[in-house]
Symmetry: C4
Subunit: 251 residues, 4 copies
Amino acid sequence: MSSSDLENPDQLVTSTNPDHPANLIPSLCAKFWTLGWVTGTGGGCSIREDDLVYIAPSGVQKELMKPADIYVLSLAAQEASLKNRTYLRSPPAYKPSQCTPLFLAAFTRRGAGCCIHTHSHWAVLVTLLLESAPGDGKLFEINNIEQIKGFGRGFQKQGNLGYHDTLRIPVIENTAHEEDLTEFLEAAMDRSPDTYAVLVRRHGVYVWGDNVHKAKTQCESLDYLFQLAVEMKQLGIPWISDIPVVKPTRI
Amino acid sequence: MSSSDLENPDQLVTSTNPDHPANLIPSLCAKFWTLGWVTGTGGGCSIREDDLVYIAPSGVQKELMKPADIYVLSLAAQEASLKNRTYLRSPPAYKPSQCTPLFLAAFTRRGAGCCIHTHSHWAVLVTLLLESAPGDGKLFEINNIEQIKGFGRGFQKQGNLGYHDTLRIPVIENTAHEEDLTEFLEAAMDRSPDTYAVLVRRHGVYVWGDNVHKAKTQCESLDYLFQLAVEMKQLGIPWISDIPVVKPTRI
Amino acid sequence: MSSSDLENPDQLVTSTNPDHPANLIPSLCAKFWTLGWVTGTGGGCSIREDDLVYIAPSGVQKELMKPADIYVLSLAAQEASLKNRTYLRSPPAYKPSQCTPLFLAAFTRRGAGCCIHTHSHWAVLVTLLLESAPGDGKLFEINNIEQIKGFGRGFQKQGNLGYHDTLRIPVIENTAHEEDLTEFLEAAMDRSPDTYAVLVRRHGVYVWGDNVHKAKTQCESLDYLFQLAVEMKQLGIPWISDIPVVKPTRI
Amino acid sequence: MSSSDLENPDQLVTSTNPDHPANLIPSLCAKFWTLGWVTGTGGGCSIREDDLVYIAPSGVQKELMKPADIYVLSLAAQEASLKNRTYLRSPPAYKPSQCTPLFLAAFTRRGAGCCIHTHSHWAVLVTLLLESAPGDGKLFEINNIEQIKGFGRGFQKQGNLGYHDTLRIPVIENTAHEEDLTEFLEAAMDRSPDTYAVLVRRHGVYVWGDNVHKAKTQCESLDYLFQLAVEMKQLGIPWISDIPVVKPTRI
């Protein structure tokens, strides 16, 4: 970030490159709105490029968002002083997102490049089904579904999960104020260091990835699996199965 | 409204500003059609700016509506003479919407800036489920779902509902003629002064807000909750729950 | 139709007017594809203007159809000689639709201006539910739903159905060849002279109207009701109810 | 393929013709993404024109794919040397699709011109329902549904299936690595020589056709039938029925 940026902070969100975070967040959020993930200003999205963090504001209609609506902050400055958050660039008409400390947790603790928060009702239904099932309902588990391959094997690990691997997504309880979720999200990251997502009971899901591509496709794959899980439950099919491994016979 | 407007009423619906009500109603209605809210000319939308009320006509295909199709009336003139409704501007090819007195009720009794009427089948299904459940079925209640935060706390109150608050939407019985719903809608507003919506049994829902942004996002959040409620019923999960409050441990 | 048309039949499908039938059929069919009504080249659409009948061809991907793909025939010539159907204009690459005699039945027997055929799976599911219910399953009936108002009262009758009226759609059994449905569709029209639609078991629905607007909005309203009916069945709510009439108390 | 193509392989994917395979694959995949068939980089699509095979790469967001992302290989060269696959043209940023040998099987063993692989959750649910039903669950069967007519009668046979015919789609078990499916797909083709599709348990479906039009419309029709089958199961309606043939009475 050059000093000229600070003299004119709007430069931070002005670019003709469609892959610039200030352009990408609005186009992603419009897509997420169509998928029913960010209904009624719910949910959000943040992208990190090196030290700069771009965040959609609070209370915006996600399908109508514009680059000029984006907040920008410095991750380094943020870590030094969590209490008094300052923004390199703020939009004139909005308030900062309550999701901000949760996005920052993904960036600082997992080195994520993008974090997406959805209110997808498939995610909410999965947390409700777990709540009413035996056990403490604090872990979503599914295995033997091809789409599981859409997830990385874990933090600082190479490669993706396999078809027979069990995908495990921790569930945390919702709090009255969204920023109060932060400590529970961080604790879930500590307990499940390889997860790329945390479900929030009766609320939705946070999904991240090393970059925009991975966060977005992992979020899609997860929503696919949540929908499948709800439909499997309606049809009486268990999420965890023990099926034989099929091996090729050719050499 | 200047006298020149009255000399050329079409000026009232002619603007290059996409946020002008005569442009906004068609673009909103096209979006609502895609969401299945205004199928087959059902439903409608009205925006108030100060004294001027803009209303989609009756019987129009909502995804094809144009600014020239919009009615305009004066709220003040309306209140003085309800029986003989006159329009400042009428489209040549359509009839006034039967929803008009219901929209006016939201504007005059709640100071709303926008009112949306949908035939969303999630709304209809919720009223059917309430009808066949024990009790008089005249109140939809749901709590402990994050999306509830999408609603204002109530008429002339500051702030929004919280996660643990119970959202309550009154249900009125449908009448043979839509304008006859008006007195029942007004009575429901009197009984539930803080509601921003009224369900109509076997028909749909009326949702309003202080402005277009609030009416539209509250309508989206409500439809999300109606869909969730139907799916929860199919999965045997109750709409009202008693769950512990999770408090942050950090100071 | 002037003689010049016959000298250059392509003129019959060439117009810059978006409401010309040769332009309207492709734009309607693209919309129907998005709604899941004409999946995999299924379904179809025909518009009549005076003596001229415009028909989508057989086997075309409905969302990709172009004006040049449209067949045109003369209704008068058709009636005089049903056996040897001749077309005023034929596209070079396609075959005539097997739906043609069914569309013509709506035009000649009901004076319809437009007829739509969908394979909507809501329509198919309704016919399957009726098949497995007690009775002969040859009539779909629903009442006390607001969307019923979207239908005309009947052939050569003024006005629309009311909220408390029962909408009745006859069901005919499917035949191996689509054109063989014609006599059964015509018999259903004779038995139910006021219907604007006929369901075909395990196949879909034919819906018509006096003009494109009415056929399209009636088709939408019907699909809405079929979807609602399937969901009501899943939730144990009957399609026919006996509810009290609510009358306004004001004078 | 001229020698100039080999000198400049990018020519193989550069064309202003929207029906060129390098343009068609991205536009088809964008459509499939909207249908939920290729969520999170899952699924794929390949087109063959004479000896040239065009394939979408691995790991690409399907709705964002561009012609420059496409692989091209020679079918003849491929058959001669399966082990060391070489590409006439490779995109700079991606890896070859693991679906490649499965697409090639459709091209070489069935003379297909296009093959589509989806992760449609309707397909996955059908394989799960079959798995938990009596029998070996290795065949999906449905009859007496109009949409069945959307399928060709079989390999090197003329015409399409009829309404009363039973559509049979073999199911193979999923393997840990997608390319290992190839031998099982080929064996299913041998056992069911007339099928145009093979379901993969807990994974999705492969569908092919003589050309793009047939592969795409057969894939649509099949997804329609899978969705219908899941809904029929939820409503207690069997997939196979024995219903009387309705014959026309007119001569």
